[in-house]
């Protein structure tokens, strides 16, 4: 069980304070509130992942008796380590939250923009087989650029259309990668 776990990485660090965060981190400038919260979120993400992976490991059965290591061993190991690191991250975030220097919060408008981009991306995936590659990708380009703060919508649309048309011509017509076509043929 030597290779796949990250022990080799954790092993060679001497001088860690027992039970606490590594000393190396303490030497860094303290994280601001946003980063601390981000660390906590990462911890939660790992915990969710750990639950999924461990549940899967429990559901798997050894296919044959001939194999000494079954398909569940690695998921179990990865899941357990995810749980440990997840807890460590959440605890770490909770401890540091009080002391963390405040940072300007992310304005709601930007969070909405991110949500907008996700809607746009999913919309692109839905529209691709219906509206064809050129139209849906142009919409993706234009929408994403505007959400990111592009100033002139019509110019952006023109750039997007050109870019996507060139991509389509090169990949679909020249190289032969079949991209979905809309009712108008491209």
């Amino acid at each position: 069980m030597s290779s796949p776990d990250p022990d080799p990485a954790t092993g060679p660090r001497p001088g860690e304070e027992p039970g606490g965060a590594p000393a190396a981190v303490a030497a860094d400038p303290p994280e601001d509130r946003r980063t601390v919260l981000g660390g906590g979120a990462l911890g939660l993400l790992l915990l969710v992942g750990a639950v999924l992976v461990l549940a899967e490991a429990a559901a798997l059965h050894a296919a044959t008796d001939a194999t000494p290591l079954g398909p569940a061993v690695f998921p179990a190991l990865v899941g357990a380590l995810m749980a440990v690191v997840g807890v460590a991250l959440v605890v770490r975030a909770a401890r540091r939250l009080g002391a963390a220097p405040s940072s300007e919060p992310i304005p709601l408008s930007r969070v909405l923009r991110l949500a907008g981009l996700l809607v746009l991306l999913v919309g692109f995936a839905v529209a691709l087989p219906l509206a064809g590659y050129v139209v849906s990708s142009t919409a993706l380009f234009t929408g994403a650029a505007l959400l990111l703060g592009a100033p002139r919508p019509w110019h952006t649309l023109a750039y997007g259309w050109t870019l996507v048309a060139v991509v389509y011509l090169v990949f679909d017509r020249l190289i032969g990668l079949t991209l979905p076509a809309g009712p108008w043929g491209f």
């Binding site: 001939a66 110019h155 991509v167 389509y168």
Partner: protein
């Protein structure tokens, strides 16, 4: 990408005041218009010009349900070449993974058009079974079987195992101690190993089968001398047999193969196993009987052509052309047999 780079450079340039500003700020629209012209221009002189009767002038599309480079991909691309004279340019696309079941799950969603074909074979029959695939070949219209590729049992050149009898002896002694390297789990190599074990009275579930993502990878495990024996498609390992890097013990065909005349069949060696890794073509479910007949005729004619015979020769594939109800009966039989073996192995 260059052109993109240049196009994209222009917003900065356009913002700069100076002579020609108007021209520059119009430039993106001019290029966009040119691109549109380009889109329409290539559309008219596409493959649409190549009309033929059978498919109403539409292009044939062939799905290879595997990554580029594998057996189905090769079959699809050889078909593409062989059909060129008959139906013009055909398109091959790959949807790889999971023994073809990922490709199949996409394929069954296609509209019932006679222009949409898919390459299939024994491995897909096995994968549907072992992956508990929700979609099966029953949701397609089987057209023809075209080729077979037989399996060969090999050992490293310096192995003490000289004959199939030696190998069978070892397997009877302690089946777990005989490691057999081959392709993916549940694939045709594992099925072969399972059938052999069943025939010699051992438990197929106890075969120490070492799965690999492909024949090439299995070959390296074999050449490193760690595995007792290997099972591989003949065409994949012919070069190594010829070079003497591995020794062939037996082939899984009914008769000796022209490419390996020295190598006995499993039947000759007293192991009652015959297995062909066949490959064929299916069409979507729900196409009309006339379309089905026309496609079968097209493919069977192609299979008869000197060009296709030359292809079989070059690739080392066996000719296994079979169409219509005979092929459907064969398919049902194979499905039952493979399902049984996989159940015995513990993968069903």
């Amino acid at each position: 990408m260059d052109s993109t780079g240049r196009d994209m450079d222009e917003p900065g340039a356009a913002a700069r005041p100076g002579p020609g500003r108007l021209v520059r700020s119009l430039a993106p629209f001019v290029t966009a218009a040119l691109a549109t012209v380009g889109l329409f221009a290539v559309q008219t002189d596409g493959e649409r010009a190549q009309a033929q009767e059978l498919l109403d002038g539409r292009q044939l599309r062939l799905m290879a349900p595997a990554e580029p480079g594998g057996g189905w991909d090769q079959t699809a691309r050889e078909l593409q070449a062989a059909l060129r004279d008959r139906v013009g340019r055909a398109e091959v696309y790959n949807v790889g993974g999971a023994g073809g079941t990922i490709g199949l799950s996409q394929y069954v969603r296609l509209p019932p058009e006679p222009t949409e074909l898919m390459v299939t074979g024994l491995i897909m029959v096995g994968a549907i079974e072992s992956n508990d695939s929700p979609v099966t070949l029953e949701q397609t219209t089987p057209l023809v079987r075209l080729t077979t590729d037989y399996e060969v049992i090999v050992v490293p050149a310096d192995s003490p195992v000289q004959t199939t009898a030696d190998l069978v002896e070892l397997m009877r002694e302690d089946i777990g101690a005989v490691s057999i390297a081959g392709g993916s789990a549940g694939g045709v190599e594992q099925i072969t190993a399972g059938l052999i074990a069943a025939d010699i009275g051992a438990d197929p579930a106890e075969v120490n089968y070492i799965a690999h993502s492909g024949g090439g990878e299995a070959l390296t495990t074999l050449l490193s001398g760690r595995a007792t024996a290997g099972v591989s498609g003949v065409s994949e390992i012919q070069a190594q047999i010829d070079a003497g890097q591995v020794r062939a013990l037996a082939v899984s065909s009914a008769e000796r193969l022209p490419g390996l005349p020295e190598v006995p069949t499993l039947l000759e060696e007293g192991v009652d196993v015959e297995l062909a890794n066949w490959r064929g073509v299916v069409a979507p479910a729900g196409i009309s009987d006339e379309d089905e007949q026309a496609l079968e005729d097209l493919l069977m004619e192609m299979a008869d052509s000197p060009q296709w015979q030359e292809t079989l020769q070059r690739r080392g594939w066996g000719d296994a052309a079979l169409a219509g109800p005979e092929f459907e009966a064969f398919l049902a039989e194979e499905t039952a047999r493979v399902g049984q073996v996989l159940d015995d192995i513990g993968l069903g």
